[in-house]
Symmetry: C2
Subunit: 195 residues, 2 copies
């Protein structure tokens, strides 16, 4: 049900078309919850049926139309209910650790490459999130700008702080991954040393 809540989260900022949601996903929520368009459009329709959002058909150019969705009161309640409920955790399913546990079967070079790739991957993600944090801090992120429009400075600070904090969590996790991968590289070098 997190997709649904990610969509509700987007729509608490402002009314949007499915396409807007899809685009905005890539530059905001998408950094914590990815969704492809093939998932977004059908889900929005289901959410409308369930009364969480309301769609209005608005003209687009001369002949075209598009559907703009707004969150309903029921939608806000549902979103808040999710936020207020105790968190649920999925069973562990960690392909990286699964691999690491059986590296005695891998080629030494592949093991080393695996840890290097792991570091590179997470370093890349950290860059993305740091950019995101910068854009939140200076309010150049359009979704956030819309969100805090007309709010008090105090409110704006509070709203921004949680988003920044979420990305800081991603970064902290990524740093832990990199530290682990670096130790992994040392371990491979120690264990697979050809004498």
């Amino acid at each position: 049900m997190s997709l649904r809540n990610a969509l509700l989260a987007m729509l608490t900022s402002q009314p949007m078309t499915g396409y807007d949601v899809y685009k905005n996903f890539q530059t905001s929520v998408g950094y914590v919850w990815h969704a492809p368009d093939s998932q977004i459009y059908p889900e929005l329709r289901r959410m409308e049926q369930d009364g969480l959002i309301r769609g209005e058909t608005v003209p687009w150019g001369k002949r075209g139309t598009k559907k703009r969705y707004s969150i309903t009161e029921a939608g806000v309640e549902s979103f808040q209910a999710w936020l207020n409920a105790p968190p649920e955790y999925q069973r562990e399913r960690d392909p990286v650790r699964l691999r690491a546990a059986y590296l005695e079967w891998a080629k030494p070079d592949a093991s080393a490459e695996f840890f290097r790739a792991h570091t590179a991957y997470h370093a890349g993600r950290i860059e993305d999130w740091e950019e995101m944090i910068a854009a939140l801090r200076d309010q150049s992120n359009p979704t956030l700008a819309k969100r805090i429009e007309g709010k008090s400075a105090e409110e704006a600070r509070r709203i921004t702080a949680y988003k920044v904090f979420a990305y800081e969590g991603m970064i902290a996790r990524a740093r832990a991954e990199i530290a682990w991968a670096e130790k992994g590289l040392e371990l491979v070098e120690e264990l697979e040393r050809r004498v």
Copy 2:
């Protein structure tokens, strides 16, 4: 395809029935890759069809039979191919960070409780993994014992080291989560303070 590789990993230790695999999952690989029996039995059948494992029907008591699976050469190759290939990363999908990013919509008490639950959850997992590491180190883990049977001390050390290292990675991640959740609690207290 990680389920398949988790099953292959189990079967590199020794031949097993589906039930053995299921049981062992809970005390070894299951800590990094969970799978229910309803997934294991059908997957083993598919793997046999694909020639990765071979099943032999063995008697069980007076009338019963059971099927014991052994990994084939093709199975070992497939497992190693997976280990030697560059890692693939899934798109981000992080319900915890998604929630954290929108805590301005939650009740302050629920936000605090959320971070406390997060800490408690990960503290519990750390305990499990630490027990697991202890069992690996003193070789009281039966799957590992079987795995290193007849191997040189050097080989045994290498095999054990990777498994310990994998669990250390889980623990490192969990510690990062706890540190983050503790900061989250402070943030909630700061932002939601009633004056």
